[in-house]
């Protein structure tokens, strides 16, 4: 059945900000289909983004949304998730945002296995600022800051995330929306940190400068770097050099999720302290509250408790 996208979008914010041929809209569509299939209520969903073209997603989805600063969305999301473990928290962002400037936060969110789903729109470039090269720009590719081609090696974000301990890691492609939706959905369902690295075209600021301004041509070009996980199994290490594997690359069903781990710390802390256990459960009796009266306290400590407060209040 067709999905009613308008249910999830802030239709008064249309038209979309992105250039024609941009992959961002495709990724958003796949994501909304996944949300729809899961039947999650908008009221339970929070999305955070940093700054960039991809980060503009938060403006369109009708959730609790924060459009924060460049590179820090994942850290912001951790604060939300820890405060509201029962809600769904997502991050959308670009390669520059989440991997380059914000790489440290990504790394540690992976390690913590916090239940946040990150959709990384990896277009190999700083799109928004006009096409400067990023940590994912292929060597030799041209950018406004690399007129002779980038001389830096790139990073395989998924390998990094797996190494850092992420619970769910997948790579998708904007040119294959059917599979992309499945990968995102599985990530959303996963209880723990999930990263979906999506190769997505930026025809304007990556394509044009590399004679790939035609979005279809750019998609073909990006696809030439991709190998499905099934096919990759049959390839040698040599053959896999410079290739990026798509599909679910890692799924750890054993690793504890962060808010769950914290919950067990809370239980431990409260078990060790009868008073607080009652306090939290709201079962403190009047006699518990008045275990020490003010008069007793005054006798115990010959310290004038009222004066400092009164003096400060007078200031």
């Amino acid at each position: 059945m067709a999905v009613d996208y308008t249910k999830y979008l802030r239709m008064d914010k249309m038209p979309l900000y992105w250039c024609p041929g941009c992959g961002d809209g495709i990724v958003l569509k796949c994501y909304l289909e996944a949300i729809d299939e899961l039947g999650w209520s908008k009221d339970d969903c929070a999305m955070v983004s940093g700054i960039g073209c991809a980060a503009r997603v938060t403006g369109y989805v009708d959730f609790h949304t924060l459009h924060t600063i460049h590179g820090r969305a994942i850290a912001v999301a951790v604060g939300i998730k820890m405060s509201h473990p029962d809600k769904h928290v997502f991050v959308f962002g670009g390669d520059g945002d989440l991997v380059h400037i914000g790489g440290n936060h990504l790394l540690h969110a992976c390690r913590r296995n916090v239940d946040v789903t990150v959709v990384l729109i990896n277009n190999w470039i700083y799109g928004m600022t006009g096409g400067q090269h990023s940590c994912t720009t292929p060597p030799g590719a041209k950018a406004t800051t690399a007129p002779r081609g980038s001389f830096e090696p790139t990073i395989d974000v998924c390998k990094m995330a797996i190494g850092a301990g992420a619970g769910y890691v997948a790579r998708g492609f904007a040119g294959d929306p059917t599979r992309l939706k499945k990968l995102i959905k599985e990530g959303l369902e996963y209880k723990g940190f999930s990263l979906i690295d999506v190769f997505s075209p930026c025809p304007i600021n990556f394509g044009r400068r590399n004679k790939l301004g035609d979005p279809a041509k750019l998609l073909e070009h990006m696809k030439s770097f991709l190998v499905s996980s099934a096919k990759a199994k049959r390839m040698s290490e040599e053959e896999l050099k410079g290739k990026f594997i798509t599909g679910v690359l890692h799924k750890d069903t054993e690793k504890p999720e962060l808010t769950e781990a914290y919950k067990s710390i809370v239980e431990k802390a409260q078990a060790s302290d009868e008073y607080w256990a009652k306090y939290v459960k709201g079962t403190l009796s009047e006699s518990d509250k008045n275990k020490i009266t003010r008069e007793e306290l005054k006798k115990l400590y010959p310290y004038d408790v009222e004066t400092p407060l009164k003096q400060w209040k007078k200031l």
């Binding site: 459009h67 600063i69 850290a75 820890m82 405060s83 409260q270 009266t293 306290l297």
Partner: protein
């Protein structure tokens, strides 16, 4: 019923934050502030509250902004270098207009500076550390007991004005143990952010009808869900970006006015023996305690000297300082830096009286004797007042 405890100002801040209703803490360790998270790491799980040590100071304050935006009182704590790292997100908190308390236990700078030594070198960083025209509130208690009350006040101001508040202590105050009283929430005023009277459909996070628009909790206790957008870009009443010049100007002016028009609620200060004073010492934090001793000593000799002590550093108490300027012969600003607040006092005094400084950035407290010497002869430079014996304990040197 409150509690008596023997604590340093770091622990006092932690305890007071809980009284004020702290709901989320995120930080990164740094001397001389680490007792704050250490204490909270024990207590917060007992209360079922989230506590996080993040990967850096940037992550810490960003996590706090996320928690606060969603409806929880949040705090982060650091010292100079970490405070520098937090600046960009502090600006976001100003722009979002989310309540937040940032504790800066000042140590000697610049850079790694004097990690274990006290300073007051972040006065201007607290004011102008983040870029762009933004309002800020900063408060500075002078002892551990006052740190308790000022922490609670910092939370209240943050909630009331939808504004990040910086709490400035220093490396000496933060480690000095004293007996303090930690009140119960019902003994002090606790402010919670105003909540909208309208339903989610009619709610605007920057409603033009308010100077401080209510900041809706995302998920209310009665089961409502306020879905809205906050952006670090210049925004209109809906929270969505705009480049319309009129809205940009409005936003920044309202953000400033909500603070500057309410100085009477934000400012806190103390006049000490100022009634007949001819010399006014301006001092805050640890330095104020030294000034008090020096003033008492000078008074015994009949010298007419008093102190004006701002507890609220920013916005500065302009009216009060201007008023003093019309009554005294001279000012002496004593501070553990090279004259940062002195600049502000000079600006306000505007040449009506000479402003002298005891400006010491040596990583040691300013002594009463130094301030006393300055009272005796304001034109004379005050040297670092350490004995040979004390100097030996510092080691190093040339």
């Amino acid at each position: 019923m409150g509690r008596i405890a023997f604590l340093n100002a770091n622990a006092a801040v932690a305890e007071a934050a809980l009284v004020a209703g702290l709901g989320f803490y995120a930080g990164y360790p740094i001397t001389p502030s680490s007792e704050v998270p250490e204490r909270l790491s024990k207590i917060m799980p007992e209360k079922g509250l989230p506590f996080m040590m993040m990967e850096d100071e940037i992550a810490s304050i960003n996590a706090c902004v996320g928690a606060s935006a969603s409806g929880v009182k949040a705090m982060t704590c650091t010292s100079g270098p970490g405070f520098s790292l937090k600046q960009e997100a502090l600006g976001m908190a100003c722009m979002f207009e989310v309540p937040l308390v940032v504790v800066d236990v000042m140590r000697g700078g610049p850079s790694t500076g004097l990690p274990t030594r006290p300073s007051q070198q972040d006065i201007m960083q607290a004011r102008w550390g983040t870029h762009g025209d933004h309002p800020i509130i900063a408060v500075a208690p002078c002892n551990a007991q006052e740190a308790v009350f000022e922490t609670i006040r910092a939370f209240n101001l943050a909630e009331k004005f939808r504004q990040p508040v910086v709490l400035l202590t220093d490396g000496s105050l933060s480690h000095l143990h004293t007996k303090i009283y930690i009140p119960d929430p019902d003994e002090v005023e606790i402010v919670d952010r105003a909540q909208p009277e309208v339903d989610p459909e009619n709610y605007y996070p920057y409603d033009y009808n308010y100077e401080v628009p209510p900041l809706a909790k995302w998920w209310t206790e009665d089961g409502k869900s306020y879905r809205y957008h906050l952006s670090s870009l210049i925004h209109d009443k809906t929270g969505f970006p705009t480049v319309y010049p009129k809205y940009a100007q409005w936003l920044l002016e309202r953000m400033h006015n909500k603070i500057l028009n309410h100085r009477d609620e934000i400012l806190k200060y103390e006049y000490y023996k100022m009634d007949d004073a001819e010399t006014c010492i301006v001092a805050f934090g640890s330095t104020a305690e030294a000034a008090r001793v020096a003033i008492d000593q000078a008074r015994e000799e009949g010298i007419k000297v008093g102190m004006f002590r701002p507890l609220t550093i920013w916005p500065s108490p302009e009216e009060q300082i201007r008023d003093i300027a019309s009554k005294v012969k001279q000012f002496i600003v004593a501070e553990m830096n090279l004259g940062q607040y002195k600049l502000e006092v000079e600006r306000i005094v505007g040449g009506r009286a000479p402003v002298y400084g005891v400006s010491q950035a040596a990583g040691v407290l300013i002594r009463p004797s130094q301030i006393y010497d300055k009272i005796k002869d304001p034109s004379k430079r005050v040297e670092i007042g350490l004995t040979e014996e004390e100097l030996k304990r510092f080691g190093g040197g040339e």
